[in-house]
Point group: D2
């Protein structure tokens, strides 16, 4: 049910499908389970989508067959272990009374189940299980006549996170939910409007970043003209941009929510060094997300930075687990220490967050076994205590170690010599913003949208 | 024809195939074109091999079907653009008079063509085009009676680079050529002897590193006993370990030729900082091979280190190139700058080597376009002037820019403000050795083995 | 759009999926494009379906994963050249308000477009383009509460041909349209009710034929009880069983519409011999459909029967056509004459029908080139003059040679010495029935259901 | 080890590969396991081959890529249950000292193991396990200088059955062993020489049959010239054409050994009627091989012929067997009776041979269950008592029911009312020849070539 994804769209470009392919390529880190592109030549929508990484889903032949001047694309995130249906692969493309429509969605609705039940009561048949299909049915079922009215009618019913690209034979529409949970950037390539979850997609194709699509904004392009509308009925929604995008998800070379991810992430490290200094010989990151905050920590503290843990970049999703009787391979499949850097040293190791604590414990042990004298764990975000219902794949409350344990207890559990988390205040300050800008629900439980009981229960069962 | 590969072997372990799988996994960086495992239960040799990465070639079912206590494995490197035959995928497994034999080979023979011609004259039929098959035919054709005699007979005819694992129904043999071009390490896991190109394979499976297989050594294990022999007829061969393994190929967390790759590589950076200092604001690496020398350069020079170029780790081999009329994507598919780090800065950028110069030029331009005031390129190895005939995939002499241009000319070509290469002396010193230890032919043309004219010509045609 | 298919269903049998597999196997001649099986264990419906023959769509693993006691299956016919969508492969399986439902449909509705348009107006989203999906949406959209009421509501809106198997988690329902266009037989296997398009499916699994599902009958099985209902609102529908099933489509070892196909088909040949006798030396069939009428013709006339044309049974759908400049391979890919049987002979050649006349001409020429002195063509059905809208894949009127040419003209066109068709009266008499029993619209244009103009136009465009 | 196959070759035709494809298509009945085509343009040999039927192994793209003017092709027969290696798929193509060579072989050598052992002693490495590879190694290992001399050298060592097509970059050679076990026909297409196992391949492509390649003849075509040679050292070999080709294997529309298969097969039926008359109501064949002799029996006896058993032509090799606990499907997967033809009748059922008797028993039972009053089995060949070592896939002696049981005992075993076999004399007379022409070893044990003990033992183990 988690819909953590990357989306890309382009209007009026002869190489629409190819640029979308590139865009998805750059956004691959936001979703590795499936990829898809829908394209229109003004008459009909064609598409290709499948499970797999962008470069395995598409080949030259497939891409060349997607002719048209407008395209949208989607990368989908894989929730661990879910054996998923092809009907959940996006973009969703449907034929209905007004013609064809394609949609690519990043985010998670909190009232999807409620809406779905109502639609099924009225005779709608759903193909898959994604939130996104609810949006499509709402548009198709709307009693309004014109497309924009139908769309607005549908959006006014949605609660939760959605950065959305919608395409008809003639239109491209970019939408960001009233809270602005997920990023959505607008750019321009040789006069063609482009949209992407992160600006790294613009960099690859050589497009210029213009501005973010605003929370609650509907940008509609048709006949070469761009117009901006507001989603009705949510005027008072509080801006709630996901600060976890900075902590972990976004690429460091991207700009989101108007800021450089690299700079924010490094500022997290600097702030962390101030809040939790330690007398040590070397700062090492848990790669890759710990690298940039480690640089910040190192520069602020003056402790030298080294790549003490080397990551195997060929790790695949289909790694075959060892049999019960063999010794645990653990995190070694991904990480291997460089003993020469660690032997006899007092080591600061920096990670972006701790979820269950088991991985952190393995890492601390691994560093110690490589000869470290002391191991000090520093985390570049506050303790994660609450599940996210807006698209980040966090486990339920009872599985989040910080939700049930104090920092001291966690420190003992992971067998570190000391443990320090960045404070919420420090994080927001480092992100250069105010409490008014960000959703920090996973740290403090202040959900900007009411979470229905059914959703909480559903999340527990998964 | 280039045979740059990773090999792994294990003797007398109930999970032989699975540990070999893990070993190849850890050695994936040495070869991504194909993978294979051969295993014996003492009666017959079974195997599976195919094109692709280790994790896509093997699944649980395949791996479980490879039952036996002795196994060898092989990862094969892909020479750019070669459309290759399945008959070249290793391990090579053959049936002949004495039974079955499997062989996994890392390296490149310089007299393979000559030997092959002679074998064909005598009626041998070759399946593929690899050097490795020559070794097999020499063993099968030998007039000697016992296997070890046949093997020695064959080895005494080989010139060039070969780290070799040979398996029969009863034996496992590890061999390193008399010059010791390629690494081959020996370890131990719960009493089982293991062999691998690099120690990172031992780390993953929890094996202990014992020592390197010596240049010219034949380690034979049979009936649980290990014996060591010397390859006859090459007593005077000069030790010629490939120093380029330190520069680029080996994983930083490995130990090869008795030294930590990370430490040697960082020492290259430190030495480079001493040989070619520059007044600058930031040191950035070309990832990934430039990262460790950059840390050395930064620490030696005091100039701060930043990840100014972010690498896309999802780049696949099947990336679809843009059409002619579109703007060049260039290195941006792999690398994206972080403008906030570079704007208005004097930048030192560090790469491991320059081959043709075109990529370096693109990188310099990319950094400048991101706002850098000055761009100083530093290379953590000497100018590459001569092709390698021992397994590294270098182009011919006329395509190596350093072979036909002075450092000043290269600097102008790549449009850098300054350019500095590590000296050969500096490199050897940083590698902690002497001229007696390493092959530096790619830098100075001193080939430790005579290269036949046919091989030189053949290389040019490819 | 043509939905010529084979269907099979079984209730309350531990090997439901496997017997359905066998049933589809026996019905393979009714559809070679795709195959599918849906099965329920009382809680949920699982299914597998794909393009291809039954034995290539299913393997042991797939079949074993389809656990449950009730199953339905479907073979789909391929209309020539149609590149079809996976969304048209049956059984159709949907989730809706009341749970899951699967449906397998043989036949063609004449008011499908009209119904579909109305459903889309009300917000229904269709996946594919088959008639069958209309039935599903009608059931889901019905305002009735109980499933049977919803089903009856839907059926009362359908015009045209449908033999239908519907499955829910608890029920199996077999339905035949009020006209009885397509066959649907009921049998019994070890106490389990079974349904199949033809009895040859019963023979393979060892089931006993009980009776036909009656035109307009709805047989519902639930909780082990079987009940029979009538489709409302069509009491006056004229029985209109497709006589072409006897001529060509059904297997000769089947019983349909209560009669042995072999006997009816042979009676066609006997009657043909009486209506169109000829002085000749040998009777040969166009295999395979001409074989049984040829035996009838031979026995009635006393002219010896021989297999003068040998059929290549390995002909695949993917036969690669020769290039323009090569000589025409024509029907020789399928048929090869035995010259020794034909040289100097007066030959009667019997086929089931003539569509465009081009194949018949090639066959006459082939026989003559093999040395025949005279070639007399006899057809075991009347001239095909009208397109079928109830499921048989006939071309439009202007492409049917008998629609625009007299028998004499056809005879000249196909270059035969004489040509004789079975009369409609003769055919019906041989089929042992009366005008009240059969649809003969393809011969005389008397369509038992009004054909909307849009359908006629649509058929022309295809 | 059984090498029952179809081969085809063509010289000097611009559509060489396509005609070979057609030829293999027509010869598909001789081998369904694998197919392959090798083609040369005068410079190099290219090929494609794989498991599967001809039409699935080749598609347009594959075929078009096989450019050249000379081609040979091969269909391979599947011995029941053998899980085979890709290395056994033909044509075999090798590179050796003189260049490339391709070979397609139909037949079985009796001294293959002996020759192979000797070659392995001398250092040859075999890829697969086919006899055919021995021939290749003998040619490559020959000390002679010119190709024809090498070939003759190799052929002079072979004992057993081989119809052979050999291709080099410049030559096409057709060879039939000195005994002439397997057929090999020569034809002509627009001036291009063509060769095929049976003439049905000529009919499809429109080629003219010229003559058979003679037993012991080597037809070599080079530079547009055709020359004929004799295999040395076997002048006294007795002509021993496989009479079983007429009984079962060849297509009825083919001519082999100079005679029409249809006519010979029908003469078997006529002779059978004379040797074993019976008072009966209907003659029915076991399709397909029983059809033509049944027509002969019917015409000779005056008893009417009917297709009392209908064959399912969609039977695939991958049919999923029912589970233990289900009732036996038996021969019903392939055959279904037409009860209306059999009820209350005295039935003569005709098959080509009886191997183990189990299938015959099932057929007799099936006919009786369909209502027959009497079932008289007639076999259109003599009792099969001896295994074939020349290419027909027969089981070992102890599994051949006629080898251990009298005709009366077999009759009781298969539960027939009477059983009659064609006599050897009758068969030879019907085949229009004399004892001098045919190999009848499977009926009388008179093997024309001595069978080594090892071969007999090997056959038993398989």
């Amino acid at each position: 049910m988690k819909e953590y994804c990357g989306i890309f769209g382009i209007y009026n470009n002869p190489n629409a499908a190819y640029y979308t392919y590139l865009g998805l390529y750059a956004l691959q880190h936001r979703g590795q389970e499936s990829a898809g592109i829908a394209v229109t030549d003004g008459n009909r929508i064609d598409y290709h989508r499948d499970f797999g990484l962008v470069f395995s889903v598409f080949n030259s032949e497939r891409l060349n067959s997607l002719t048209g001047h407008v395209a949208i694309g989607h990368n989908r995130y894989s929730t661990s272990g879910a054996s998923d249906s092809p009907d959940n692969v996006q973009p969703i493309v449907v034929s209905y009374k007004l013609g064809q429509m394609a949609i690519a969605h990043n985010g998670n609705l909190v009232n999807a189940w409620e809406l779905r039940e109502k639609l099924e009561d009225e005779g709608s048949i759903f193909r898959g299980t994604t939130d996104s299909e609810v949006i499509v049915h709402l548009i198709v079922k709307s009693k309004k006549r014109r497309f924009l009215e139908r769309l607005m009618d549908a959006l006014s019913k949605l609660k939760g996170a959605y950065s959305l690209l919608v395409m008809t034979n003639k239109k491209l529409i970019a939408i960001r939910d009233p809270w602005g949970f997920r990023p959505l950037c607008m750019g321009e390539l040789d006069g063609s409007p482009v949209f992407a979850s992160e600006t790294c997609a613009f960099d690859l194709i050589g497009a210029k970043y213009i501005r973010d699509v605003e929370p609650g904004e509907v940008v509609l392009i048709e006949n070469g003209e761009m117009k901006s509308y507001r989603i009705p009925a949510f005027e008072s929604a509080k801006r709630s941009q996901c600060i976890f995008e900075f902590v972990y998800f976004a690429r460091p070379d991207s700009k989101i929510f108007g800021r450089s991810v690299y700079e924010v992430r490094k500022a997290f490290g600097r702030k962390l060094a101030k809040e939790h200094p330690v007398d040590a010989d070397v700062v090492i990151p848990v790669p890759d997300s710990g690298v940039v905050p480690s640089l910040g920590y190192s520069q602020e503290s003056g402790i030298p930075f080294e790549l003490g843990l080397i990551r195997n970049h060929y790790v695949g999703r289909t790694f075959i687990k060892p049999q019960q009787k063999m010794r645990d391979i653990g995190v070694k499949v991904k990480l291997n220490p460089v003993p020469e850097l660690l032997k006899g040293k007092r080591v600061v190791v920096i990670d972006d967050s701790i979820v269950r604590g088991t991985t952190s414990r393995k890492i601390v042990r691994m560093i110690r076994e490589a000869g470290a004298k002391e191991v000090h764990m520093r985390i570049s975000s506050p303790p994660t205590k609450w599940p996210c219902y807006f698209g980040i794949d966090t486990p339920t409350k009872d599985q989040l170690i910080a939700s049930t344990h104090s920092v001291d207890e966690i420190c003992r559990y992971i067998e570190a010599d000391s443990l320090g988390y960045l404070s919420i205040e420090g994080m927001i300050e480092a992100a250069g913003g105010s409490w008014e800008d960000y959703c920090t629900a996973c740290f403090d439980g202040n959900y900007p949208v009411d979470i229905p009981e059914t959703v909480v229960r559903q999340a527990k069962k998964e």
